[in-house]
Amino acid sequence: MEKVLLRNIDVPDSHTLAVYSSRGGYRPWQEVVKNIRPEQLIEEIKASGLRGRGGAGFPTGMKWGFVPKDSPKPKYMVCNADESEPGTFKDRLLIEKDPHAIIEGTLMAAYAIQSHTAFIYIRGELAFGANILERAVDEATQAGYIGKNILGSGYDVDLIVHRGAGAYICGEETALLSSLEGGRGWPKVKPPFPATHGLFGCPTVVNNVETLAALPWIIEHGAAAYAAMGTDKSKGTKLFSVSGHISKPGVYELEMGYPLMKFLEEDCGGVPNGRRLKGVIPGGGSMPVLRPDELEKVNLDYESVQAAGSLLGSGGVIVMDDGTCMVRAAWNLARFFAHESCGQCSPCREGCHWMEKIFHRIEQGEGRKGDLELILNVSGNIMGNTICPFGDAAAMPAAAFVRKYREEFEEHITQKRCTIRNGVME
């Protein structure tokens, strides 16, 4: 498979303009800004079948198409580099090793929607990456790829690297926009949607780092080349960040549709120390966990993972072996979501903490009869009833852990302690 996203990262100094250019970097941007009309670019990306890599898998070209062309307001392009999903560290790799690909992609997206101001919103904790990005933006500006009348095309665009203060919720696109506006990182109620009422009430597109980083390759090789990879509905390649009980954790680029178990066992070296697999979260901490029996037929594409009862999400693959206490794992995630809930809407604000408290109690050996039903019911009351998808992101994994490892939870409640010893329940 030809690498689309990780094509540069192993080259020394891949983050510099010199190395990026020597490998053909910014040629696609020159081509776009000089010879391709915005509508053509949108069509090209539609044809590539590229879907958003921020979690929801929304077709990128279609998203751009929602931006009104005749709006008198300025338009904004935002690259979402807030990556904070548990178990997800793919964007960080691109930011640190291939910042110019992100910049080039962001410029293309801005051009497609005819925005003259683009932002890269980067998570506060990624200070190292932010420094690299800022330097790369300076280099690209000096080279004339950013700024006024780019390469004589008459097109202007500014690119601003904005550091967030470090909040998971600021990765949610409307919270990101609130934060970028200088407000609290609170998601906005929809409608209206960002395509028409985004940043400062103006038409805005938010795309993930990985989504944007794929654009230069697509322009260089053509939509057909990209669409030739992957499955019928999930085209191209995707990054997976693998962590947990696995021999070779790290970021991998795979063609969409790659079999999950093959990936874990062959590419990632399987579960170490002779232990057995107990569960895998395939798409980052906010997605439902899958049991080994559910994993067998799963391929790494949107449809297949969904058919198995989870979601591909960000591609953060979290592997748990049989020594893992699933009660503790569930509590750990619940604690994350309780801590990160922005607190704006009542079901999520109150429900996430409620679930966390129950999980914690069970983990501490103070579980009660009825606790599990309660967690399922509370998570059900959160699901679908909140301002932003964070509510679902917190509720889905909680319910999945309880449903799929119910016996272990019950054991925890009746025995008043963890009974996992050497990979088996006592």
Binding site: K73, V189, P191, F200, G201, R349, H353, W354, N381, N385
Partner: protein, 551 residues
């Protein structure tokens, strides 16, 4: 990076803004009932139009949409997820269910969420009895909480400003208060701080919640998180008697509910009137009843004899005052701007009967208002100056020349109603000298004021809340005052005093109650032609505007 829409941004999500853009007719059904409304409205607004009240906390018709409480979730045909009615635009042919099993279940769930960290200290909470948590609990929940964990704690009774105190544990984070200060007063004192279940409302460091409209957040806070420092712990709200009336604070004429307990005014609450005050009340008006009522009341007429004022009977007092004033021409008559149209009408009639050589005026003073004050307040403290003048209590040139003439010693008799002239400015010595020079002074008031102490005859009358009648506000809206408290024995209604004096002066009028007087003045005063008392209703009537401007 500036955006042209910047200044408009805070409104772009308000229903009003959206109404301005789109007015196309739309039909939809809510719970099977057809609703004809206009494009741009939301489901909660359309439902209200046909009398369906979708439960809500964060939605307020005068504030932007926050969508955070989730109490208004409803089912919409062909939409898989429940939708919040407060932010859901109406669409042609849409079918909404507000009572389906799914909706009823989520209401219970939202109530349960809102009460997770709620202290439920209703027995010591001033909101109890008018609390939306209590009310919706009774209407939509009625079940025990399944929450058995430790509750999170927050600040109790933090003083936000002179009128408002905050209880963080009772707060449901609906952000109505925050939005009110962002969007209505634009003073931005409050914000949400912290995250998750530690979210709470806080003052910006170094600020105090003391803007002139601060008290309104107590009204719009649906729970006991913001309470009124003046009112709290004085009386349980279910003991209050509520009477529709008009705020006597200034000539804006805000519509109020006068709420009383044991014949005392306990508080004012605004009544909604889009032609006047919308949903609001200023702090000055809200608390003005303290100064305007109470104190040691006069309950018997007094007459000056050797050595001072002595009690007397009404007959003697009225007789003495008539002969006194008749012997002290030219006459000045000064009426309070808080007197009603009916009182002003009778007063003018009486004074003109006593002598053609008389000058009448309403006490009226203006002051500078700040931008926030201007949102609601008028620059005076004379709620009925316009009406009283229209009733004939006016002389050429207004109050200034009349006062100058008073100081110049032009008048020998004066009749001062409802105002303590000694209290109106700092020039007390000069006013005292001027009043002492009068050969005959009559004061009609509720308390023994410094002015009254100089009078030859003092008549005990009634205060705000004790009388009915009408005020005409600055913009010419005629509005009704009603009796909320009973006057002490011995004091007489101003109307009755004037009617008795007219009688005694030989001008026997056929009317005496405010209602009868109003119908009479509507015949005599051209601007009021065609009005009748009953038609004024709860929302008033616009002079000159006919019924069209009436709400």
């Amino acid at each position: 990076m500036d955006c042209w829409a910047g200044p408009l941004l805070q409104y772009s999500n308000t229903p009003i803004f959206r109404h301005l853009i789109l007015m196309d007719p739309i039909k939809l059904t809510i719970d099977g009932k057809e609703v004809a409304t206009t494009k741009g409205k939301t489901v909660i607004e359309a439902a209200a139009e046909i009398g369906i009240d979708i439960p809500h906390y964060c939605y307020h018709p005068k504030l932007s949409i926050a969508g955070n409480c989730r109490m208004c979730l409803v089912e919409i045909e062909r939409m898989p997820k429940l939708q919040i009615a407060c932010n859901m635009p109406v669409v042609e042919g849409m079918s909404v269910l507000t009572q389906s099993p799914k909706v009823l279940a989520i209401r219970k769930a939202v109530m349960e969420f809102l009460l997770v960290n709620h202290p439920l200290d209703c027995p010591i909470c001033d909101q109890a009895g008018e609390c939306w948590l209590q009310d919706y609990y009774m209407q939509h929940d009625l079940q025990g909480s399944r929450f058995q964990e430790r509750k999170e704690h927050d600040r109790k009774r933090e003083v936000f400003g002179p009128n408002v105190v905050f209880d963080g544990e009772r707060c449901i984070k609906c952000t109505r208060c925050v939005r009110f200060f962002q969007e209505v007063t634009r003073t931005d004192e409050l914000s949400v701080v912290n995250r998750g279940d530690h979210s709470t409302i806080a003052l910006f460091p170094g600020t105090v919640l003391d803007n002139p409209l601060s008290g309104n957040v107590v009204d719009i806070c649906p729970v006991g998180a913001l309470t009124d420092r003046d009112f709290r712990f004085k009386v349980r709200v279910w003991y209050l008697q509520k009477t529709s009336s008009i705020c006597p604070g200034c000539s804006t004429g805000c519509n109020v509910s006068v709420e009383t307990y044991q014949n005392r005014i306990a508080r004012f609450k605004p009544r909604i009137n889009e032609a006047v005050n919308s949903h609001w009340l200023c702090d000055e008006g809200r608390y003005c009843f303290h100064d305007l009522t109470g104190g040691e009341r006069l309950t018997t007429p007094m007459i000056r004899q050797e050595g001072g004022l002595v009690p007397t009977t009404w007959e003697r007092a009225l007789e003495a005052m008539l002969s006194g004033l008749r012997g002290a021409i030219p006459l000045a008559g000064i009426l309070s701007g808080r007197n009603t149209n009916e009182e002003a009408f009778l007063f003018a009639k009486l004074m003109k009967k006593l002598s053609q050589d008389c000058a009448l005026e309403v006490l009226y003073q203006e002051r500078e208002l700040s931008e926030v004050q201007k949102i609601l307040m008028s620059p005076d403290r004379s709620p009925n100056f316009r009406g009283a003048r229209e009733m004939g209590v006016s002389s050429n040139g207004g109050l200034e020349p009349l006062m100058r003439k008073l100081f110049d010693g032009h008048f020998s008799g004066a009749y001062v109603v409802g105002e303590d002239l000694m209290g109106i400015n700092n020039d007390q010595d000069r006013i005292r000298q001027m009043l002492q020079k009068l050969s005959f002074l009559v004061v009609q008031d509720i308390r023994m004021t410094e002015t009254a102490q100089l009078a030859h005859v003092v008549l005990p009358s009634t205060q705000f809340g004790e009388k009915e009648g009408t005020y005409t506000n600055r913009n010419g809206r005629v509005q009704k005052l009603n009796i909320a408290t009973i006057a002490p024995e011995g004091a007489l209604q101003d109307c009755e005093i004037f009617v008795r004096l007219l009688d005694a002066a030989g001008d026997k009028v056929s009317y005496s109650t405010p209602v009868e007087v109003f119908d009479a003045l509507a015949k005599e005063v051209p601007a009021y032609h065609g009005l009748n008392y009953a038609a004024i209703g709860e929302q008033g009537i616009q002079l000159g505007g006919g019924e069209a401007k009436q709400q």
